[in-house]
């Protein structure tokens, strides 16, 4: 089948499937069937190549930030913003972005891919730059083992033609530097020694009683013996951060919930520097970080009955712990909603790997979701007081809002619980479309 016809067909399918509200990957699937290699061919034409962002935590936020940073420097950026991160999803996004002549009008592609899909993708499209964020206990019931996840990311690193951007503080990610040939450059982002204890790795997590004292990690390697990082998150103070960019200090605002998101900002900045090369204007990139707003479920604030409510997606122990450490419990009315649908992960064992001591002072106002009783049991064994357990999300949400008084609200929730809560909130107030 000839090329233009394939494209027109694909775009037609996309139009038809959007009419009946079909999945965003569907037209991409048709495209790949008709013309395998379509995605690779299109992306290969981009002058600044393809950037792949992968890892277990923070992909969506980091991709969003990277795209915004690059656009602020005048680049035309193609990204897979629909969140369907299969090759097909990329194909579908491509179709949506093409002009009437079938050209992709972009300088660079920045793509969020989860580990398993990234492996598949890089066999077809070799990235120029890959940003590899972390390997945490996420979706282990799907991928099996953390070391398997690391192996997947190693394949991504080895397929990268230009530079891999690595998290210096994650031992499994840092070791990827040894997997690539000399032709592939390595750029690091990292944390100051003062901040490292705020990010315990999974390996440190249950190493006995060390859990109560994350600062006392004997596995710590002093910064002098770690590689130099292009971007170091030096200090955080609520919304403001201090960054060291190639030896120069910069103050920036990163108005996102949680210190882990501020670390993601450092990752996005390090990656942008690689994409832009000598053209990078560091002060203006740092300033642009202040303009970033949260991605879906990453701390977006919804106003309901004149009170702010934050939805915080939790999907693995490290993310949950960081989220808890980011704000004082007494300042919030707190609800936790845990579902165990496929998209959440069927296995809720990971809740036992989260340390909930931070909630002991403030307690938890409401626990909900399919696995509400599991969550309540978990909190009970961490001596955290729970006011109410109500598995039904709608009943729980209404009661939580009514009982929260003047306190701002935050809800830690798994993926499908968040979708349901947003839908319920949508009936009460205006909630931005996903």
């Amino acid at each position: 089948m000839s090329r233009p016809l394939v494209r027109v067909l694909g775009q037609g399918v996309r139009w038809a499937s959007s009419l009946r509200g079909g999945g965003s990957a569907f037209p991409g699937l048709v495209m790949e069937k008709l013309h395998p290699g379509f995605v690779a061919e299109e992306l290969a034409k981009l002058p600044l190549g393809v950037v792949v962002i992968s890892g277990t935590n923070g992909k969506t936020t980091t991709t969003k930030m990277t795209v915004q940073l690059l656009r602020s420097q005048g680049l035309r950026v193609f990204t897979n913003r629909t969140g369907s991160n299969f090759v097909r999803g990329v194909a579908a996004s491509l179709l949506a972005e093409m002009d009437a002549f079938g050209r992709l009008v972009a300088d660079v592609a920045v793509l969020e891919l989860d580990e398993a899909h990234a492996v598949h993708f890089v066999k077809q499209v070799r990235p120029r730059i890959s940003l590899l964020l972390n390997v945490m206990r996420d979706q282990l019931d799907r991928f099996g083992e953390i070391d398997t996840t690391r192996r997947m990311l190693s394949q991504v690193a080895r397929a990268t033609t230009g530079t891999i951007v690595l998290n210096r503080e994650d031992p499994r990610i840092a070791s990827l530097a040894q997997d690539v040939t000399e032709d592939t450059a390595v750029s690091w982002f990292g944390l100051s020694d003062a901040l490292r204890p705020m990010f315990p790795s999974d390996d440190d997590m249950r190493d006995g009683l060390r859990q109560v004292d994350p600062g006392a990690q004997d596995s710590d390697v002093p910064s002098a013996r770690r590689p130099d990082a292009d971007v170091v998150l030096e200090a955080v103070n609520a919304r403001s951060v201090e960054l060291d960019v190639r030896g120069r200090k910069h103050d920036a605002t990163v108005d996102l919930y949680g210190v882990y998101n501020q670390y993601n900002a450092a990752a996005a900045l390090a990656t942008s520097l690689q994409v832009l090369g000598d053209a990078a204007d560091v002060p203006s990139l740092v300033a642009e970080l202040g303009e970033v707003t949260p991605a879906f479920g990453r701390g977006e604030t919804i106003t309901v009955q004149d009170k702010p409510l934050q939805l915080l997606l939790v999907k693995n122990p490290a993310g949950f712990r960081l989220s808890l450490a980011s704000a004082s419990a007494q300042d919030y009315a707190t609800m936790i909603a845990i579902n165990d649908q496929y998209a959440d992960g069927r296995d809720v064992s990971w809740l036992w790997d989260v340390d909930f001591d931070a909630l002991r002072d403030g307690g938890v106002d409401m626990v909900s979701g399919v696995r509400a009783w599991d969550m309540a049991l978990r909190l009970d064994y961490d001596l955290v007081r729970v006011a109410t357990v109500e598995p039904d999300l709608e009943d729980a949400l209404r009661r939580f809002i009514a009982d929260s008084g003047e306190r701002p609200m935050r809800i830690f929730c798994t993926y499908t619980a968040m979708l349901s809560l947003r839908r319920i909130l949508g009936d009460m107030t205006h909630v931005a479309a996903i």
Partner: protein
């Protein structure tokens, strides 16, 4: 608390650095809290490869790991095996989940074809299977009642002729997906593939371990039922969920 002679209840975590995954910490925490809520003091001691052997342990707990962790642990287990066998013979209670359960058997052949030697507390052998057995599981034990949890393992375990299983499978895969057995039990040593964690949602199993530990000290588990409403509700939900 009247334990002047024996001191606090000493819970040894075996290999927490290499073998604790899928919430295995919850087992240790459950033992600790259930002891504390009955007025017993507890002490948690970590044992990692090469550490001095913790003397006077009242209870051992160990969890699952990845293959890489199991290799590190297998060598060390061979060294401390005589001490563990001695403890088993005295009736010291132990809970070995997943990876440690496998190493408490005779051998484990990994997916890459290497064979790890176990220490033979249980008469069983494990071979990595073609696919992981993953999902919610419900089992029934004659001694310990219904046990619910979440299994996640690629090892297929076959019990020797005389080896008692921990429980029989009601729904789920269990030791090998074939013979409807789950786990193993020898003296007061329980081996199981159930994570979840196992003990929080199975208080009867937790109390069995605690009672066995106290019995060796000439004590009994203090009277006064704990309120297990939360655990019971969580069990009911877990048992009703799709695999």
């Amino acid at each position: 608390m009247a334990h002047d002679t024996a001191g606090a209840l000493r819970i040894v975590q075996l290999y927490p650095r290499d073998m604790n995954i899928y919430g295995d910490w919850g087992n240790t925490l459950t033992l600790k809290r259930r002891a504390e809520r009955r007025g017993l003091e507890t002490e948690i001691v970590d044992y990692n490869p090469g550490d001095p052997w913790p003397e006077n342990a009242d209870l051992f707990v160990g969890g699952g790991g990845q293959d890489s962790g199991q290799f590190r642990v297998a060598d060390d287990l061979a060294v401390v095996a005589p001490r563990l066998h001695e403890a088993v013979a005295r009736g010291v209670p132990m809970l070995a989940i997943c990876g440690l359960y496998q190493l408490f058997g005779h051998s484990f052949r990994t997916g890459t074809g290497e064979t790890l030697s176990g220490i033979g507390i249980f008469d069983l052998e494990t071979v990595a299977g073609p696919e992981r057995l993953i999902g919610n599981i419900v089992t029934e034990s004659a001694d310990l009642g219904t046990i619910v949890g979440y299994e996640n393992h690629s090892g297929l375990t076959h019990l020797g002729a005389g080896q008692q299983p921990l429980a029989s499978v009601v729904s789920g895969a269990g030791n090998n997906g074939q013979d409807a057995t789950e786990g193993a039990r020898t003296a007061n040593v329980l081996g199981s593939y159930l994570h979840g964690s196992l003990l929080p949602k199975n208080p009867r199993v937790a109390d069995f371990l605690l009672a066995a530990a106290l019995e060796l000290r000439g004590e009994t588990l203090p009277e006064g039922e704990l309120d297990d409403t939360l655990a019971q509700r969580a069990r009911d939900v877990a048992a009703s969920r799709p695999r």
